[in-house]
Amino acid sequence: MRRLYCDQEAAVLDASRSGQWNTELRQHVGSCSVCADALLVAEFLQEENRLATSESVSLPSREFLWWKSQLLLKHRAMKQATRPIELLRTFAYLASSITLSWFLMNLVQAGTELSRYSASLQYVFSWSGGYALVGGATSLLCVAVGSLYLLWGEK
């Protein structure tokens, strides 16, 4: 079974970086497969790094990156600040939808004789007045709380 590591590996890599080899270390690399592999790979990758970092490419400017990240942060902060309003608006839409459906169902009930034959529908309609009241009241409450929040924000 091959060894996973060698105690001399760090010394070999240091020597590779600095170029300061001693005879003993060179002989060791010749006889140790772990260090030979490590040296080969390290030299290749360091050369790749040297070539990549010496390429004349224009990196994005740091001012632009700073500006972009500030913009992202502000966007995130604004989203957070307007979250309560969004929440209230969603509730208001929901409550309004319930009220509107109650209204439409009553219209349908008045327009057809369907409810006469359907006991279950009658049961639903008997409760729908209460639901509509709750829905309407919730809508008004959401609008009121939203308005108060806006007024409070103005101050």
């Binding site: 091959r2 996973l4 590591y5 890599l13 772990v34 030979a36 592999d37 490590a38 080969l40 790979v41 390290a42 290749f44 990758l45 360091q46 050369e47 790749e48 790094n49 990549a52 970092t53 490419v57 990196l59 994005p60 740091r62 001012e63 990156l65 700073w66 500006w67 972009k68 990240s69 500030q70 913009l71 992202l72 942060l73 502000k74 995130r76 902060a77 604004m78 600040a81 307007t82 309003i85 969004e86 929040y149 806006l150 007024l151 409070w152 924000g153 103005e154």
Partner: protein, 197 residues
């Protein structure tokens, strides 16, 4: 720096928000983990190495700038505790590594060599071929090798950057190194010898 925002935040409906943008902007700046001068220093120190890392590991020049920008933006918008230079760099490389991994998962990056083109031994010549040989490795192996042999990171640091367990780094690194060394030796052989392999 002015970033040209309106005086008030605008709701999705198009109406202005009650809270003034100035206050929101101030709050946002407080959430940045470092000031602009510190960021400039960090950028000057890390941009080139990070660019080289992204280029060599992703193998796709077209996405490098994009990944670089995203890495810095995520770094700046993360609410981080006070970090020293080494920790900041390490965290930045971690973000970049995760971004690359995300792209590989979404198949937006295709850079394992068997997916790009099948390379026969006749094609393996000089550095360009060695570079392609490097792409023969799995993305994770490339990351491990680069972090260990170029950035000089310890096993523990590599584990932090890649999300792997520190105890498995040694074995994974050994396998990756052996694979790459094997391919590099093939590249280094004279052409006639390669053909006879």
């Amino acid at each position: 720096m002015s970033i040209g925002l309106p005086d008030r935040a605008v709701l999705p409906s198009g109406k202005p928000c009650a809270a003034p943008v100035g206050k929101i902007a101030e709050d946002a700046e407080k959430k940045t983990s470092m000031d602009e001068a510190a960021f400039r220093a960090l950028y000057d120190r890390t941009a080139r190495p990070l660019w080289a890392y992204l280029l060599r590991i992703s193998g796709d020049r077209d996405v490098v700038d994009d990944l670089l920008q995203e890495s810095y933006c995520r770094f700046l918008s993360a609410q981080l505790p006070q970090m020293n230079h080494a920790e900041s760099k390490s965290y930045l490389f971690r973000i970049a590594t995760n971004l690359m991994n995300d792209r590989w998962r979404q198949r937006k990056l295709i850079t394992t060599l068997d997916e790009v083109e099948q390379v026969t031994e006749e094609h393996l010549e000089a550095r360009a071929q060695m570079r392609q040989a490097f792409l023969l490795l799995k993305p994770r192996e490339r990351q491990l090798l680069w972090l260990a042999y170029v950035e000089g990171s310890s096993h523990r640091e590599i584990a932090g950057m890649t999300g792997l367990r520190a105890t498995s780094i040694r074995l994974l690194l050994f396998r990756a190194r052996r694979r790459l060394a094997g391919v590099l030796r093939v590249c280094a052989r004279p052409s006639k010898e390669k053909l006879s392999v």
